[in-house]
Symmetry: C2
Subunit: 329 residues, 2 copies
């Protein structure tokens, strides 16, 4: 059915090697033959068989992007960023998430060993040593999206979790004059969550204000539940700093259900600045993370690694955060 270089070679009365050369823009071909071959290729509507090419070269034009899940707006922004960069370089992106069907580790191992992809971007907020060692043993170019400072030896995109959280807390204390704050954390094993928690606590301690910590898991429901506990506390906090916007939304739901007012009765602030936050009632004060930039930077870094043979020293790119002041506190 589809034309192959063999066919083109036959028609052009040259060898397949020559055809291969012009397809791959190898300069060692005369203009004449090049033009001739190109014409025939055009006429036959030739398209290289990518599978064959990838196989022969032992490298594909596919990169893998592994995410914890694909649902959250947060993650889709990452996909968008990665795709945009990858696409501009003729790379295709395979997106996979650690579904119920497969654990993250299994997923990664499969990707590495099956030779499908020639680079990997891994967004995971808790990386254990096993995985890290698997990753470094495979000689696949890898870029991590992870904010933990403990990870050396890998190229990494990090979010300014600590700074963002610290600034927000400082703002709540110094500008808004709250003196009893609460923080709803993300999952304990999540590095971003840990950093945000630490930024909060450090700022509270620095200014000597009282605080309460409640546990969440980044889901709307957990925000709702944590908020309920907080409001029923004998010492009701004046403001709740949720470790992400989804949990802040859960707080909104809870507070409304209890017929309380934001920010009069209790303030709420979040982290991420997802699309919906600006439309909440009242609009949510939060810490903005430029998520698309995370994806873009990750892809750019990965491409650089794939293209350069010599392994450059691993770099960390920090994506800064920004305080977005709205009306929820």
């Amino acid at each position: 059915m589809a034309a192959t270089i063999k066919e083109i070679a036959a028609r052009a009365h040259v060898s397949i090697a020559t055809v291969s050369r012009v397809i791959n823009k190898d300069p060692r071909v005369t203009e004449e033959t090049r033009a001739q071959i190109l014409k025939i290729a055009e006429r036959l509507d030739y398209r290289p068989n990518i599978l064959a090419r990838s196989f022969a070269q032992k490298k594909s034009n596919l990169i893998g992007l592994i995410l914890p899940e694909i649902s959250d707006e947060y993650f889709t922004e990452v996909i968008k960023g990665v795709d945009e960069i990858a696409f501009s370089q003729n790379l295709y992106t395979i997106v996979a998430s650690s579904h119920k069907y497969k654990s993250l580790e299994d997923e990664v191992v499969t990707f590495i060993k099956n030779g499908l992809i020639s680079g990997l971007i891994l967004l995971a907020s808790n990386l254990d040593d096993t995985l890290l060692s698997i990753l470094s043993k495979s000689h696949l170019p890898v870029v991590l999206i992870n904010s933990s400072n403990n990870i050396k030896k890998f190229d990494r995109i990090a979010i300014g979790d600590y700074q963002g959280s610290f600034s927000m807390t400082t703002y709540l204390i110094k500008k808004k004059h709250y003196n009893l704050l609460a923080h709803i954390t993300g999952p304990l094993d999540n590095d971003d969550a840990g950093l945000r928690r630490k930024g909060f606590i450090d700022a509270c301690k620095k200014y000597g204000v009282k605080y309460i910590i409640e546990k969440g898991d980044f889901s709307r429901e957990s925000g709702f539940n944590a908020c309920k506990k907080l409001l029923n506390n004998k010492d009701r906090p004046q403001v709740i700093f949720a470790a992400n916007d989804m949990m802040a939304i859960g707080c909104y739901d809870c507070i409304k259900q209890m017929k309380l007012q934001i920010p009069q009765d209790v303030g709420v602030v979040g982290f991420d600045d997802v699309f919906v936050s600006q439309y909440l009632n009242p609009p949510l004060t939060t810490v903005r993370v430029n998520i698309e930039a995370v994806g873009k930077k990750a892809a750019e870094l990965l491409l650089k690694k794939i293209q350069s043979t010599n392994n450059i020293s691993s770099s960390v790119i920090n994506i800064p955060t920004e305080l977005i002041i709205r009306e929820s506190c």
Copy 2:
């Protein structure tokens, strides 16, 4: 580096053909040798080289998903649905969007010819005959996500645009007793937009109420602009039916800027029921589309087509819509 069947064959003192058979669960192997080979494969942490396999079989375990763009929540829900089904069948999904870098047609052609994928899901709201003919000439299994009834000969997932729009309009007229309605359309060449427009107009005509049509393009900005025009009209409409939620949000922005109240001064309703809609102030009355179901159904249909050799007659799966009554009208 990575183990191959050759290596396993050597250690098991069998031929590579036998190894290949057990890997592929061919029953024509004795239990003993099978167990033996499996054990060695396990020990060597063998993973088949997908590229080699795909190449040899002339078919891959990759399916393509082409979208107009990747940013919108709408599209990411589709991705999620497709991925979930595909993944459960050991298929990987390559997501591509018709970027500035490539036209939709170019994208499709590349995908088809390069032999990378063994099935394609194409979400496009305006398909021209050229593209359709390219698609049918390639013998690639294809599932379209498109609501136009003019497309025969292709498996297709369609959204209940017309019904949803007709019901919403009927609700506006009969239950809410509006008698001057406005509709902000999506892009003219978009089939979903066309159907929604038609549903609106048909309902208005059926009940003999007056209506105004304003043009939009599904973007928030276009909703804002269309709304402004509408409100400055000498005959100001009592309610605005935006062809999607994003434009409805644009209306909210505009109405607030003009210091008007929803729904007292003017009602607003949308279409899609994206996540943010329930949190708008006031919560948006809209038509819900189960977008994830769209993705899932598309993937399921595609898998069925890929697996069955005989081409079944093309089916159309309709994803119904549902009126979501909230407080914006």
